[in-house]
Symmetry: C2
Subunit: 222 residues, 2 copies
């Protein structure tokens, strides 16, 4: 377990292959060793302020434990970056969040950004970072949780939402939900709409690859 990237899933499941979905994307794309764990007793994850508050201490505890277990970098694999400031205060290794990673990657293109997610509002961390670059946030019709994305109807609505973003002047689409990563929806949009897409899991992996290489070269004390 030592020298790995520790990836935190902010919901609860016993299914190890589900827990490892994001880590597998990152290992495949960037060749990084990722250990994934989920927080306890929260099978529905974070879906409002109250459930976020409940999750925060769990994320901090899990991150601290992963550092003790030898992880060299932590990923909070959720587009809302829950508990990121608290965790950074409690560990001495770098912490990257999927939401900030996705927004920052989009900003490097300097083009108008459209964000797509499954919550009523765009995560605050993404809205704050994107600032004036943000054209519009959209939630696909009738899609309110990640399982809705697993149906053909859900994917059709998501494609429709992406088209709507483009019609409003968006030049790059950013996902504000890691559920889109799980279904490989970025590649669908890239092919169907020929538009650059920033996938939140791919984005956290991109930064992880950069910082992890530095740690490999010489153990840095962050």
């Amino acid at each position: 377990m030592s020298d790995m990237i520790g990836l935190i899933r902010v919901f609860t499941t016993e299914n190890q292959s589900i827990i490892e979905e994001h880590g597998n994307v990152i290992s495949r794309l960037y060749g990084l060793p990722v250990m994934s764990k989920c927080i306890p007793d929260q099978p529905l994850g974070i879906f409002n302020d109250e459930t976020e508050q409940i999750a925060i201490p769990k994320i901090v505890e899990l991150g601290k434990q992963m550092e003790k277990d030898g992880c060299k970098l932590l990923l909070i694999s959720c587009a809302a970056d829950p508990a990121i400031e608290q965790l950074r205060k409690n560990v001495s290794i770098p912490v990257v969040g999927a939401g900030s990673a996705a927004a920052l990657t989009a900003l490097a293109l300097g083009e108008p950004v459209g964000v797509m997610g499954i919550t009523e509002c765009i995560p605050a961390v993404m809205e704050n970072l994107l600032g004036d670059s943000l054209v519009q946030y959209i939630r696909p019709e009738d899609v309110t949780n990640t399982t809705d994305l697993l149906t053909q109807a859900g994917r059709d609505k998501a494609l429709e939402a992406a088209r709507s973003l483009l019609s409003q002047g968006t030049k790059v689409i950013v996902f504000a939900c890691t559920g889109f990563s799980t279904i490989g929806f970025a590649d669908v949009l890239r092919k169907e709409l020929r538009v650059p897409v920033i996938d939140a899991v791919e984005a956290e992996g991109l930064y992880a690859s950069n910082f992890y290489k530095q740690l490999e070269a010489e153990p840095a004390s962050f």
Copy 2:
């Protein structure tokens, strides 16, 4: 020349190996095909507002020509991101700047940032992006152009400047001059000071690798 990344050096030289220094770093780190060119008639590059204004139309023309030649993505390989908005308006391919790339990469760590460069002030693009994360900007003593970095005295002063940034609370050091890349100074600091370092050329390459992979997968119209 088609399907390559076009890298723009914002000074003039006849020496092809100097022109290709940044592109070689990016090819080595990310395995990307890079074609490098420099702007004409500006051997001293950009060193104040006037020389930046003179360079802008040259950068735009060179970028347009590189797009015509089949480049799929452009890099303005200078920490001040000169002409980036103008170039983005004049081409249909993505444009990434070294300065914004470095600042955005640092922001993904969420830690206090110290910036080191050779100009009197930090480039505006970096200052604006870093916002409250910026602790301090520093220029190494007696270092006012990139050739000063090639001497032992210059490197000693740069190391001293980095130590000074750390003593002020900086947790990550960002280079605001690509001259540090040319001398491989990021690795020196990582080893000597065990601190994460964002190198502007490495950072533009990181984003280029992400966007270029998308273009490879399916030609996107940005």
